[in-house]
């Protein structure tokens, strides 16, 4: 599904990612953990194509496409979804309208018929019920005036509606209370299927009590210094990162 080969990237002249290799198969959930400043969010940004990062080497293949050749909206249409650490507010733009535009851009790209307002509403309301979200979300402007938890839940709703091949969750758990965390985790678990994959970036092991990863990777100083299964997360919880960093040095 996703093949990252020796990816190097930075901001201006400062290298941040110093050669990342990662292979994610369909049906898998990978967790990427690591201390602050290790390059976790940079990795998410580079995968989605955010401006301001210079890719200096390596490849990122989603199925057969090299993502790095595509504009951010093209990556989105190919099935890359980034759940933002800080979802952006767009005042005055109705959430339902925004989401329908996004859904239809992606449907158009896939050669599917666009959803009219009625069918979209039906679909989104069903999804909201599944996720336990309140319908007044749809009437409000995109993320404007939302609490931190509401913003994250809105990300999960968008993810559920866009049905991505590759979902990258960038510290989606930060600042969430336990109820919100459950909703977010539940959304991710519902999405999980044999034809998609998820990369969950998190600072804490807490989220991994709810989303059980197939693989856990530790990112430090722009490199993956350790990979393992879910037990690695528990080990990190107990021992912290220092022992790994010492080993890596």
């Amino acid at each position: 599904m996703l093949e990252i080969k020796n990816l190097q990237a930075g901001i201006e002249d400062k290298p941040i990612l110093k050669g990342i290799d990662l292979s994610v198969n369909a049906g898998e959930v990978h967790a990427i953990m690591g201390p602050n400043g290790s390059g976790k969010s940079t990795l998410a940004s580079v995968l989605a194509g955010r401006d301001g990062y210079d890719v200096t080497g390596g490849k990122v293949l989603l199925q057969d496409d090299d993502l790095l050749d595509l504009a951010p909206e093209e990556r989105a249409r190919e099935g890359v979804f980034l759940a933002f650490q800080y979802p952006v507010e767009i005042p005055g733009v109705n959430s339902a309208y925004f989401l329908r535009s996004a859904v239809n851009e992606i449907r158009k790209h896939r050669g599917e018929e666009e959803l009219d307002a009625m069918n979209f509403l039906k679909a989104v309301k069903a999804k909201m019920k599944e996720l336990g979200l309140s319908e007044d979300f749809l009437k409000r402007p995109v993320n404007a005036g939302f609490s931190g938890g509401e913003k994250k839940r809105n990300e999960i709703l968008q993810m559920a509606m866009l049905n991505p091949k590759l979902a990258v969750l960038d510290e989606t758990d930060s600042g969430l209370d336990i109820d919100a965390l459950r909703i977010v985790a539940d959304g991710v678990n519902r999405l999980k299927g044999t034809d998609n994959a998820q990369v969950v970036i998190t600072h804490y092991q807490r989220l991994l009590d709810y989303i059980v990863p197939d693989f856990v990777h530790v990112l430090y100083d722009g490199r993956i210094i350790k990979s393992g299964d879910k037990t690695l997360a528990h080990e990190l919880e107990e021992k912290g990162y220092d022992w790994l960093i010492r080993d890596a040095a």
């Binding site: 989605a48 194509g49 955010r50 401006d51 301001g52 990062y53 210079d54 890719v55 790095l68 595509l70 504009a71 951010p72 909206e73 990556r75 989105a76 249409r77 979804f81 980034l82 933002f84 979802p87 952006v88 507010e89 767009i90 005042p91 005055g92 733009v93 109705n94 925004f98 989401l99 535009s101 996004a102 851009e105 992606i106 790209h109 402007p141 968008q158 866009l162």
Partner: protein, 481 residues
């Protein structure tokens, strides 16, 4: 790395769809401004003596005035002797008696502008007065309106058919001495629309005037007068376009609204004069005076969407003379390329319990400069006057500017005046967020801008709200690289 480096930094030309020229023989005056020109225009229109006198008084007054320098706009001085003050499509014989006799080229022009004056207009349910350069070329739905007692015609026609009404109200809201451009207009105004709604009548349809400047080196000086008798109601819309030319053209209009007791006038403008190119060459100088007066319990509401013109200089105002009267101003002003706008409103509270609301949304892109200038004035006797003002500015890119000049004068201690202002920038992160959901950068900008303008758009009549949104999209075309 991606094709979208500096997403909101690059600005390329967007196409102005209405920039074509209609090839039609017209009758134009030689450039120049003097008494003969004023007499010519007045004679051409077969005007009564009092109106000619009024024009001449304005001309004499104008000759003593100097053009204002306080607006926050820059342009070379206008040579008023270099402008032709009258141009009209040449008439065959006595001129058209009905729309069926109007030159097909003119009808085609309006068709191309999306303002059909023929059969299809009937479906639209909107009565249109079409003004081409200095002349009104026709008004639709006249008979239907006449049955309701509504008069809707060109002001030249009103001078002939209803001189008593014109004489009673012309210049009562904007006197000929009012300001530089209004005085010029009073001397040389050529045509415009006239609306009269009788007592207790709700105008059965939307009224609309479509202004088109076609001829080169011509100024357009239209004068619009709307009188709403007691307890009447009217909604009026004006639209404007002009061909693309390298020279600047002057448009100095005057609009007067009179809302008598319990009457309501809703006046909407979608202004899309040619804005000039990226370098600031060409485009319309839109120097306009618009003002309304409200008697007891009356209401006047101005809604404007301004996307065109090289320079916009206008302050649709309301004089709240009657007790309990209401004034509203909703505005979206967009400046892209090298456009400049200095626009806002004046709310003059004279009566008791008068209320006013101002919502201004300024959008600056390219090298556009956008200023809000507003005055809220509360007189000594205006007990319990209330005003709420909200001025928001949105910046796209880093070469444009937004400025706010709010003036508040309160002479009555019971007045309540609130002013809120915000300036925000369309962030790369907002655009990226939309991109990440599959939306094109341009669609993202359009969506963000439309969201920003929502409070104003919802004040527009339904069919025009859609138009306005499209217009904004077109005006922002190329605003992201």
């Amino acid at each position: 790395m991606s094709a979208h480096t500096d997403t909101i930094d690059e600005f390329v030309a967007s196409d102005y769809k209405y920039g074509f020229v209609t090839d039609i023989e017209s009758e134009s005056l030689e450039p120049g401004l003097n008494e003969d020109v004023v007499r010519f225009i007045s004679a051409k229109k077969n005007e009564p003596e009092w109106l000619l006198e009024w024009r001449l008084k304005a001309l004499r007054h104008f000759e003593k005035m100097e053009s204002p320098t306080w607006p926050h706009v820059k342009y070379p001085p206008v040579d008023f002797q270099d402008i032709s003050y009258y141009s009209a499509p040449k008439k065959k014989g006595d001129g058209p008696k009905s729309l069926d006799e109007v030159d097909p080229k003119l009808l085609e022009t309006y068709e191309k502008l999306g303002v059909p004056l023929h059969e299809r207009a009937r479906l639209a349910g909107v009565a249109v007065d079409a003004v081409f350069d200095s002349e009104s070329i026709g008004t639709t739905f006249k008979e239907d309106l006449a049955r309701a007692g509504v008069i809707f015609c060109s002001i030249s026609e009103a001078v002939q058919e209803h001189p008593e009404l014109v004489k009673k109200y012309l210049g009562t809201v904007v006197p000929y001495t009012d300001n530089f451009y209004a005085t010029l207009n009073s001397a040389v105004f050529s045509d415009g629309s006239f609306v009269y709604i009788p007592k207790g009548t709700r105008c059965p349809m939307e009224l609309s005037t479509y202004f088109r400047i076609n001829a080169a080196n011509t100024g357009q000086f239209e004068r619009t007068l709307i009188v709403a008798e007691e307890s009447s109601h009217v909604s009026y819309l004006e639209g404007c376009t002009a061909p693309m030319r390298d020279e600047n053209q002057l448009h100095a209009a005057v609009v007067e609204l009179v809302a008598l007791d319990n009457a309501e006038i809703k006046y909407s403008t979608v202004q899309n004069w040619y804005p000039g190119d990226e370098e600031g060459r060409g485009g319309i100088y839109n120097f306009v005076t618009k003002r309304g007066i409200c008697k007891t319990n009356a209401k006047i509401s101005w809604t404007q969407v301004e996307t065109g013109s090289a320079i916009t200089w206008k302050y649709p105002s309301v004089i709240l003379q009657g007790d309990n009267s209401i004034g509203e101003f909703y505005s979206v002003a967009l400046t892209n390329k090298a456009q400049q706008a200095d626009t806002g409103t004046k709310m003059v509270h004279i009566g008791k319990n008068t209320r006013s609301t101002i919502v201004s949304k300024g959008i600056s892109a390219g090298r556009g400069q956008n200023s809000y200038r507003g005055l809220v004035q509360v007189g000594k006797k205006a007990t319990n006057a209330r005003n709420f003002s909200q001025c928001d500015s949105l910046l796209i890119g880093d070469k444009c500017g937004a400025h706010t000049f709010p003036y508040i004068e309160a002479k009555n201690p019971s007045a309540s005046i609130e002013h809120e202002a915000t300036t925000s920038k369309i962030g790369e992160d907002q655009i990226f967020y939309c991109n990440q959901r599959g939306l094109e950068p341009q669609d993202a900008v359009n969506m963000i801008v439309n969201g920003f303008c929502k409070e104003v758009f919802r004040e527009l009549p339904m069919e025009f709200a859609v138009e306005a949104q499209k217009l904004l999209d077109v005006s922002l075309e190329g605003s992201v690289g």
